[in-house]
């Protein structure tokens, strides 16, 4: 039965090549766009090296500090003082690392040319939570941080800029007017992986000034490693509780703090919606994403429906014969929907190939001012893609099929609709 449907479907597709081409064009293009977007989001939100522990990691990123009357708010990255006092001490956390909220861009000069270097302050735990593959040397330790040793881990491309092909460990690198001894070299991290990204990582205590130590707000983030994701609610609750008892240098100016220990998606949602009390709304973010995706699919889907509807006419006599010989409406709908699914699957295949090509292109050209991407299609995205295709095939096939099954056999045989 199904084999018959498939044979029929392919025969129909071959019959009117123009229609088949237009349908495939629409489907493959739509899927390629959706897959590229999904792959881009996936590589930001999900764990890729060095963030292999992402599914059991939370982050404390932007916070909001509020005045007693709630009129003055200060939103921005948390301060080192706050993170040191209230996040490092969370009982349910296995490990906590404090690092710069984002990489500072520092200009470096070598042999008369200038290049931008992403510069980040971190501590010893950072290297334990994140899973860096060291090309040479090793990470700096908590002791290095405590003793303010001028040591640095650098990226592969920074090593190339400074030392060419030679090894870098043990050598000195001068950046932003300070000199660091290189202790380790790691592969480049793409710039959109904003927690681990940098070209040079140095201990926080090597900062030029020490005022950061007591600040509640400004310049830092924390990442929290839990034993497993099951501990997330406990950690979130403990952090909320800790914020309620936070001490303020001048309670008349500011006396409330809001924020949370978040997954990446929760952080994005928190910053996007700017809710009062700075709550996160992941469900809203997901709803917006799916609505946009559906809206984008609407036009190609209607286009396909229109093509299908106008094709029915061409097949009126076939349908008339089948009806006259007693084919039920369900059979006809089943047949037509199968045909449409075969069509969308073919289009989907082309779409996959297209999206791999686009991602490959994005990886090779420098679209972002600094560094290259490592976007790719994996099993998870393939699965999303198959879901999208199937949904699309059903969505665009059901109405024409229903309309087809309602044809009056006598009229259909005569060729009129």
């Amino acid at each position: 039965m199904l084999a018959n449907y498939l044979k029929l479907a392919l025969a129909v597709l071959r019959r009117r090549k123009f229609f088949t081409f237009v349908s495939l064009f629409g489907i493959s293009f739509t899927l390629a766009v959706l897959l590229v977007v999904t792959a881009l989001l996936d590589s930001i939100v999900n764990g890729y090296p060095p963030e292999t522990n992402l599914e059991r990691t939370l982050g404390v990123r932007d916070m909001v500090m509020m005045s007693p009357d709630g009129k003055n708010t200060w939103q921005g990255p948390a301060g080192y003082g706050l993170l040191d006092k209230y996040v490092r001490t969370l009982p349910s956390a296995e490990k906590v690392s404090i690092l710069s909220a984002e990489a500072y861009w520092v200009a470096a000069y070598k042999n008369g040319s200038k290049f931008d270097v992403g510069f980040k302050y971190t501590d010893g735990e950072f290297w334990q939570i994140l899973d860096f593959q060291f090309l040479e040397g090793a990470a700096f330790t908590a002791d290095d941080e405590k003793n303010a040793n001028f040591v640095a881990v650098i990226s592969k491309s920074l090593r190339e800029r400074y030392f060419g092909e030679a090894n870098a460990v043990g050598k000195t690198i001068e950046i932003d007017g300070q000199r660091f001894r290189v202790v380790g070299v790691v592969p480049d991290v793409p710039v959109y992986r904003f927690t681990p990204f940098a070209d040079i990582w140095v201990p926080i205590s090597t900062s030029k000034s020490t005022t950061y130590k007591n600040e509640l707000m400004g310049g830092f983030q924390a990442i929290i490693l839990a034993k497993n994701a099951g501990d997330f609610p406990a950690i979130k609750a403990e952090f909320r509780e800790a914020l309620k008892h936070a001490q303020f240098p001048d309670p008349k100016e500011y006396n409330q703090l809001y924020g949370g220990a978040d997954t990446v998606l929760e952080s994005i949602a928190r910053m996007m919606f700017q809710a009062p009390e700075f709550d996160t709304h992941v469900e809203r973010l997901v709803a917006i994403f799916f609505t946009l995706m559906l809206l984008f699919m609407l036009l190609p889907a209607i286009n396909l429906v229109n093509l299908n509807v106008s094709r029915i006419m061409e097949r009126a006599s076939e349908i008339g014969v089948r009806k006259a010989f007693g084919a039920s409406r369900v059979t006809l709908v089943g047949q037509f929907v199968t045909e449409n699914l075969v069509l969308t699957l073919c289009g989907g295949l082309i779409g996959f190939i297209l999206s791999i090509a686009v991602l490959h292109f994005l990886n090779t050209v420098q679209i972002i001012p600094y560094g290259k991407g490592d976007f790719h299609i994996n099993g998870r995205i393939f699965f999303y893609g198959m879901c999208i295709i199937t949904f699309f095939g059903l969505f665009s096939g059901v109405y024409p099929a229903w309309k087809m099954s309602r044809l009056n056999p006598v009229q259909a045989l005569k060729g009129g609709v």
């Binding site: 123009f18 500072y104 200009a107 000034s209 229109n306 093509l307 006419m313």
Partner: protein, 401 residues
């Protein structure tokens, strides 16, 4: 002709079910296209307005003081003065100014103030006296800041012509307070008018702008600016950057410096807007191409199906032109219905404040442009099938079964 048009309407109406889906498709395509035409015209009209300043040979030095807040401190002021002096000693540097915000950066200060009963939103900058010469601003009325403004109990401000027109109409703003100060706040008194200072670059919409004078001798209320701007002698190369950073680091070693030629930030700002815009244009272009190809298929199919009908018309004396008119006319009527629905929806945009974002002329022109493109596309789609239809011979068509 009127009779024929009426007849076409009837035909469209008779096939309303399947035509409705085509209309829906064209309606959505029109809305997507409107988004692109509106953005294009918006950028184009902004691009053609003068920037009001010149960024050639101007470098920005961003100072990271590694401290929070803008608390005034005599020591910080002193350090900033030392930096400015040491930059001025370099032979490549023509002029130095300090400013809060710089051109082509996302961050900036803004404020809502009531001026002559009107609530106005403006961009605000705080600058030193040499800012006008470094940025090559064009003064059209009054005077620029000068050292005689020290020690006044009011703060001198410069406004752009747009703010002058919006707040003061045809009256002269000179010597007047820009807005009524809150108790305890110093009066902002307008001393001059400049053509413009579009800090966000060519593509965003020009905004209202006000610059306050930084009084570096008044350490009590003084915020230390984050940026120095250096006007360099023409011909200075990028190699000078390293010398400059070393000089600044030798002067105040606790601070960090990041140098960007404004030409670079200009180019990257332009790129940051243009890349997403081009991507959007490409996606919408592909969607329209898909819709167009689909339409060709549909019209083709309907022409094939109606071979007999067209044959009869031809037998009764319809000319080639009549058949063209007949096939194309039907398509254009469907398009017209879709566009009417689209325009009705777009006419609601001003109600949700769309005209605060774009000029009325851009709003209207982009609607007309999008409509013309839609008509163009559908006419083009109908052309080949209608040519096929007009070639149908009556004898052949009537034999068709």
């Amino acid at each position: 002709m009127i009779a024929t048009t009426a007849h076409l309407f009837k035909l469209v109406w008779n096939r309303k079910r399947s035509n409705a889906l085509i209309m829906l498709e064209l309606f959505i395509a029109f809305l997507a296209l409107y988004g692109v035409t509106a953005l294009s015209l918006f950028f184009w009209s902004n691009y053609n307005k003068p920037l009001g300043f010149s960024y050639a040979n101007v470098w920005q030095v961003e100072i990271d003081r590694k401290e929070q807040g803008d608390k005034p401190s005599a020591e910080q002021t002193e350090r900033l003065r030392r930096l400015i002096r040491s930059a001025q000693t370099l032979s490549e540097v023509e002029n130095v100014t300090a400013s809060f915000t710089v051109p082509f950066s996302n961050s900036g200060k803004g404020g809502n103030y009531t001026i002559n009963g009107k609530q106005l939103r403006m961009d605000i900058n705080e600058v030193t006296d040499s800012f006008k010469d470094v940025m090559n601003l064009q003064l059209t009325n009054g005077r620029w800041f000068n050292p005689s403004d020290d020690g006044q109990n009011w703060i001198p401000v410069i406004i752009n012509e747009r703010l002058c027109a919006a707040g003061f109409g045809s009256e002269s703003p000179l010597g007047k307070p820009l807005y009524k100060p809150e108790p305890g706040e110093k009066e902002r008194r307008v001393v001059g008018v400049i053509t413009d200072f579009r800090k966000n670059g060519e593509l965003p919409r020009p905004s209202l702008f006000m610059a306050e004078r930084i009084n570096m001798n008044d350490t009590a209320s003084f915020h230390v600016p984050h940026n120095l701007m250096l006007k360099l002698r023409s011909g200075t190369t990028a190699a000078f950057e390293e010398t400059l950073v070393k000089t600044l680091q030798a002067t105040v070693k606790d601070w960090s410096y990041r140098i960007t030629p404004l030409q670079e930030s200009h180019d990257s700002t332009l790129k940051n807007v243009m890349i997403p815009f081009v991507l959007l244009g490409l996606v919408v272009g592909f969607l329209l191409l898909m819709v167009a190809l689909g339409l060709v298929g549909i019209v083709w199919q309907s022409v094939t199906r109606r071979t007999r009908e067209i044959g009869v018309r031809r037998a009764f004396g319809a000319t080639y032109g009549d058949v063209h008119f007949f096939v194309l006319g039907e398509l254009l009527i469907i398009t017209t219905f879709a566009l009417i629905a689209g325009v009705v929806l777009l006419l609601q945009l001003p109600l949700v404040g769309f005209l605060d974002l774009v000029d009325a002329s851009v709003y209207a022109a982009s609607m007309v442009l999008a409509m013309s493109i839609m008509y163009g596309i559908t006419a083009l789609c109908g052309l080949y099938p209608s040519m096929l239809a007009s070639r149908i011979q009556p004898s052949e068509a009537l034999r068709y079964e």
